[in-house]
Symmetry: C2
Subunit: 199 residues, 2 copies
């Protein structure tokens, strides 16, 4: 796994040829048990790396299209799974916990419910105020420039734009880790404001 | 290949498990023939993508440790190869052109010779003043933070630091594309200045 901007955060990626972007999984390493977010498949090397850092106790999913390698990882590790509360009735895999707006899976990792995206109540996560983690709605196909899902994928564009505006108002965001594409490691709030201005 | 910050720039990567970073190849797409820099191996998908963009006429290497997939790509495409002039006598593969400080392989792509790095006269490239492309000396193992090779890899630390200081004085650099690790897509000159301050 690759080191992110904090010593307790890692990511690993699989290249998606249909979109020519990387799909990214994130690992937050904590003394109370590591948390994976939207994990893509791990290579043997990354699997061993993760085990050396303490394995995994929770897998958090931003939406039902980002299940990725979760079933295989959960099967092998007995990790619990948390998903978006708004998808509770139709989520394709078993979840141990459902997260709504403002809930913290672990202290410092706060769920933000987005509206109007591809799936109901897609989650983003704010980690200790400065790192925003997004699933599908906010993404980056071009390095250095955040974008959102194309209109035809959105359930409600107006609601989706309002949700992105809400993210852009998070005043301390320095880093934006995207599930799909190029993450941003400095001045994330400025990149989010630029995104809002283009919507 | 993944879209970089300009529509004529792409990159593709292979993960290096020994260092837990990506090794990156870069493609500059031009009407006068595309140029690859330090190309890692291309997947079939990326190979087709490159061909659809016009193939390749030149491969430019920053140093003899970054030859990577150059022989295979050159064999299949008849691309010419350019390397660092200071390694001319010992370079492990045939080069069609040797680049010294200030030379342009193509208009807008200027070679910068670095001193004291792992190999003599390692090249960096300044693309149209705003994009700096580095090979080995300047790199990023932690996202968002540029670093240099460890002291034990440097031939002359003082000379290497002076070369990095010279890069940090390039006033228009917005993007720093690194051969090894995490590239920077905004405020590259600030990241370079922060690097110099830490050396």
């Amino acid at each position: 796994m690759k080191s992110l901007h904090r010593p307790d955060l890692y990511s690993w990626s699989t290249f998606n040829p249909a979109r020519n972007i990387d799909f990214n999984g994130i690992a937050w390493v904590r003394s109370d048990g590591n948390i994976l977010i939207d994990p893509v498949a791990l290579s043997n090397h990354d699997w061993n790396h993760l085990q050396s850092l303490g394995g995994v106790v929770w897998i958090v999913l931003t939406n039902s299209d980002h299940i990725r390698a979760t079933p295989e990882i959960a099967n092998q590790t007995y990790a619990k799974i948390a998903g978006p509360a708004a998808e509770k009735d139709t989520f394709p895999i078993h979840c141990d916990r459902w997260l709504s707006d403002g809930e913290e899976l672990a202290p410092g990792l706060k769920a933000i419910e987005l509206q109007g995206s591809k799936t109901p109540g897609e989650l983003a996560f704010l980690l200790e105020e400065t790192t925003l983690i997004t699933g599908d709605l906010v993404r980056a196909h071009k390095a250095g420039t955040l974008t959102i899902l194309p209109d035809e994928k959105l359930q409600n564009r107006q609601a989706a734009v309002a949700s992105v505006q809400r993210l852009a108002q998070l005043s301390q965001v320095e880093t934006v880790l995207v599930g799909d594409g190029w993450s941003v490691f400095h001045d994330g709030r400025d990149r989010l404001k630029e995104l809002v201005a283009r919507l």
